[in-house]
Point group: C2
DNA sequence: GCATTACATTTCGTGGCGCAATTAAGGCCG
DNA sequence: CGGCCTTAATTGCGCCACGAAATGTAATGC
C-alpha cells in the first residue's frame, strides 16, 4: 500500500493539497477543506475517496456542535503510518527524535559529541537513528543545525561545529540508507510552527529564539522569508540599549550582551560575586534578588525593544518565542512589555506573544518537519 | 469593444493572468509568458488570440537577438487604450496626474489646499479630474494619502489633513462619477514598484521613503506586507543614534530627528546661523561646508543603520529609496555605506539600493497603480 | 538550398471541475 | 412521533481548459 517513494501516489496537485490540508489542520471535514482550497463539495468527495482507499486518510468520527443538519465526517491522516527522525546538532550533543507524520515525538536518543570530525558525528548519528528505527521504517531524516545551509542539504558553514563546505545530507543518506534533508535550525523550527504549530493559521508571524544566541525567523504571506545569508545570525548583535553591558565581540548593549544565556549568567554572577548558571540567574531574579532582578529587567526591556522592532518592521500577527532561553521572556514579562511600549506607537496593536517549550524537543520537531515537508511535497533526495 | 466595467471580459483566471503578465512585463513573447505562468505554448496561443481580437493586446514587432530559429512575436498592451488618474493629497496641495495603463504620466494638475474641509477638497479634486479628463474616458481614480486607510476606500485618520473616519472613495466617486480607490501613499508607491517599477522582478524588496517623515514598505513572497496599523508610520521614530539630535517629540537620534527634511534643514540652519531649506542644506554639504557636511554625515550614517536593520530583519533583494527627500541618500552615500557596515555582518550580502525620482510624480504614479490594479483585478467599486 | 533551430498554431483527447439533483443524517417542533 | 428543515456528502452530467503531438512558420548557418 503505502509506497515509500511518494506520498499521495497521484501527482495531481489538488489531491496533494487536500492531503496536506488534512495533515496540517488535523481532523477536518471535507466541507472545511473545500472552503479553504476554494473547491466545491463534489470535488472533495472525489479527491478524498482515493486517499481514504489508500489508507492515507481515515474518517475519525462525526462532529455536530449542536448545529442542525447532517453532522460532518472528520478526516484525519493516519499519523502513525509513517515515521520520521528529527535531529538537532548542538555544540556538544546530538538529539534525535522519532516522530509521526505530524512531528509529534515518540521517542528520543541523545549522544554526546566529544569529537566534531564529520565522519565521527555521522557515525554517532547513524547509530542513534538505528536505535530509534529498530523494527520501523523511517521515511526520512531531518537535521537542524546552527549555521548556513544550502539546498536543504549542504552545510556551508557551522561555526560551533567547526564545519565548512560539508555535504551533510549526502553523508547521512549514505550512512543510514534513509533520505535526509538539512537546514538551519531556526528555519526548521519556523517551518514546524508554520505547518503544525502556533503559526499555522497566520499569514505572517515572527519567531524569536533565545539561548546561546538570538535567532529570528519570519513568515510573510504564508511563506518563509529567507535569503542566502540566513544562518549568519543577522540579529545576534542587534543594538538594544546604548548604555547596556558589552558583549564579547565589543558591542554595547546588543542582543547578545543582553539576551544570551551566557552573558546573563555571567553578569548576574559578577553582580552577586559567585558563579551561577542561566537558570539560577533567573531563579534569583524571580526570588527577588535585587542585582539579578535589575539585570533581568534590563534584558527584558531589551527583548521588548527587539520585539518592537520586529513588530514595526514586519507587522506579524503573532510572535513565537522559543529556544532554551525562553524562560527569560516569561520571568521578565513586565520589562518586556515596558520595552515594547518604548518603541511602539501607542495606537498600534501588539500581536499576541506565545512561548514554545524551550527544550530540545522543539528543535527536533522542527528538524522532523523538514523531513515531513520534503516527503509530502515530493522533494526528498533519492537514496541511490 | 473595450467595455468599461471589466478588463478582459472573460473572467477566466488564466486569461486574466496572461493579460496582467503582459501589462507588467512590457513587450513580452508568448513563450516567455508560458514559462512564467507554467503554461504550455498552445495555451498561450489560445489565451492571447481573444485578447488581441478585443484590441487589448497588440503584436509589436519581432525580436531575434541574433539567435537562430523563428523570431518571437512580442505582445504588448495598448497602453493608451485606458486612462487613469492618480492623485496625491499633501498637507497643502493636491497633485493629480493622468496616466496610461502602465502608470506613465501624460499630464498634470495641481491645486493648492487652503481649506481642508473634506467637501472643499473633494470639489477641488473633482475639478482637477474634470480638467485632466477633458475629452477622455477615465477608467478609475486612485488616491494616495498619508494616513490610515481601510478597504482601499475609507480614511480612518489622516493627521496632517485633520481627517478622521471619512469615506473618501465614496465621496470622490459621487463627485466625479468615476470609480475610486484610496490607500496610504506608501502602500500605493510600493504597489507601483511591485507591479511596474524596480521591484517587479523581486520576490522581496523594501521601500524606504524620505521627506517630511520616514516611511517603510515591504514586499515579501511577491505580496505586500501590511496590517491594520499600516499608515501610523511605525518606523518614523526608529532609534538610530543614541547620541544624535532630539526630534520634536523628544526622541534622541530617531529617524525623524536624523532623516526628516525639516530637522535636517533646522539643524544645518542652526549650525551656520541662518535659515536654510532642505535643498540648500544639501547643497551646502555637497559644497563642503563643514557644519553641513557633519550633520549630513550623521544623517547618512543613521540612514545606513536603518537600512541595515531592514536588511537584517527582512532580507530584501532590493531596497528602493523614494520620497521628496531622496537626495539625502545620494548626497550622503558614503556615510550611508558606513552606517550600513556598522550593523551588518561582514559576511552578509547587501542588496542593491535604487533611488526613485523624488518628485510628486512617483506618488501620483503610485496612486494610479492602485486604480490600475483595481480595474485589472476587477475589484473596482461600482459607481452606482 | 537544405539542415537546423525555435516560436506559433492546429488538432485532439483527457480529465478536473462545478452545477444540479439526490441521498444521508441529524435537529426542530407541533 | 413523524414530517420538515438544515447541512453534509455523493452521484450524474457536461463543459472546457489544458497539454501532447503534429504541423506550420520564419529566421540562421554552412
Amino acid at each position: 500500500m503505502t509506497s515509500e517513494s511518494t506520498w499521495t501516489q497521484r501527482s495531481d496537485p489538488s489531491s496533494q493539497s487536500v492531503a496536506i490540508e488534512v495533515l496540517r489542520r488535523g481532523p477536518i471535514s471535507r466541507i472545511e477543506i473545500a472552503r479553504r482550497l476554494n473547491l466545491s463539495a463534489p470535488s472533495l468527495s472525489r479527491l478524498t475517496a482515493p486517499l481514504i482507499e489508500q489508507g492515507l486518510l481515515i474518517e475519525t468520527g462525526t462532529q455536530n456542535e449542536g448545529r442542525v443538519g447532517r453532522p460532518t465526517q472528520l478526516l484525519d491522516v493516519q499519523a502513525g503510518a509513517r515515521n520520521f527522525i528529527g535531529i538537532k546538532l548542538r555544540e556538544n550533543e546530538l538529539v534525535a527524535a522519532l516522530t509521526d507524520l505530524r512531528g509529534d515525538i515518540i521517542s528520543y536518543e541523545t549522544r554526546a559529541l566529544t569529537d566534531r570530525t564529520p565522519s565521527v558525528v555521522v557515525a554517532l548519528l547513524a547509530d542513534a537513528v538505528a536505535e530509534l528505527s529498530r523494527g520501523l521504517v523511517v521515511s526520512a531524516i531531518g537535521i537542524g543545525i546552527g549555521g548556513l545551509v544550502r539546498d536543504r542539504s549542504y552545510v556551508v558553514s557551522a561555526r560551533f561545529l567547526e564545519w565548512d563546505e560539508l555535504p551533510l545530507a549526502e553523508l547521512v543518506t549514505r550512512a543510514t540508507g534513509i533520505p535526509t534533508v538539512v537546514d538551519n535550525d531556526l528555519i526548521a523550527f519556523t517551518e514546524y510552527e508554520r505547518w503544525f504549530g502556533a503559526g499555522s493559521d497566520d499569514d505572517r508571524f515572527a519567531v524569536v529564539s533565545l539561548g546561546a544566541g538570538t535567532g529570528f525567523g519570519l513568515v510573510a504571506n504564508r511563506e518563509l522569508v529567507v535569503n542566502e545569508d540566513y544562518g549568519l545570525g543577522l540579529i545576534g548583535h542587534w543594538p538594544l540599549d546604548p548604555l547596556g553591558p558589552m558583549c564579547p565581540a565589543g558591542h554595547r548593549g546588543c542582543a547578545h550582551a543582553l539576551l544570551s544565556s551566557d552573558c546573563i549568567a555571567r553578569n548576574v554572577g559578577a553582580a552577586i560575586g559567585r558563579d551561577v548558571d542561566y537558570d539560577e540567574a533567573l531563579d534569583l531574579a524571580e526570588a527577588g534578588q535585587p542585582a539579578a532582578r535589575e539585570i533581568l529587567s534590563a534584558s527584558g526591556r531589551g527583548l521588548g525593544r527587539l520585539l518592537a522592532a520586529v513588530c514595526n518592521m514586519t507587522m506579524p500577527q503573532r510572535i513565537i518565542i522559543g529556544g532554551e532561553g525562553v524562560r527569560l521572556a516569561i520571568v521578565a514579562e513586565d520589562a518586556v512589555q515596558q520595552g515594547l511600549a518604548l518603541d511602539r506607537d501607542s495606537r498600534a496593536h501588539n500581536p499576541p506573544i506565545v512561548y514554545a517549550n524551550g527544550d530540545n524537543r522543539e528543535w527536533c520537531r522542527g528538524a522532523a518537519a523538514l523531513a515531513i515537508q520534503a516527503m509530502v511535497l515530493g522533494t526528498l533526495p533519492s537514496t541511490a
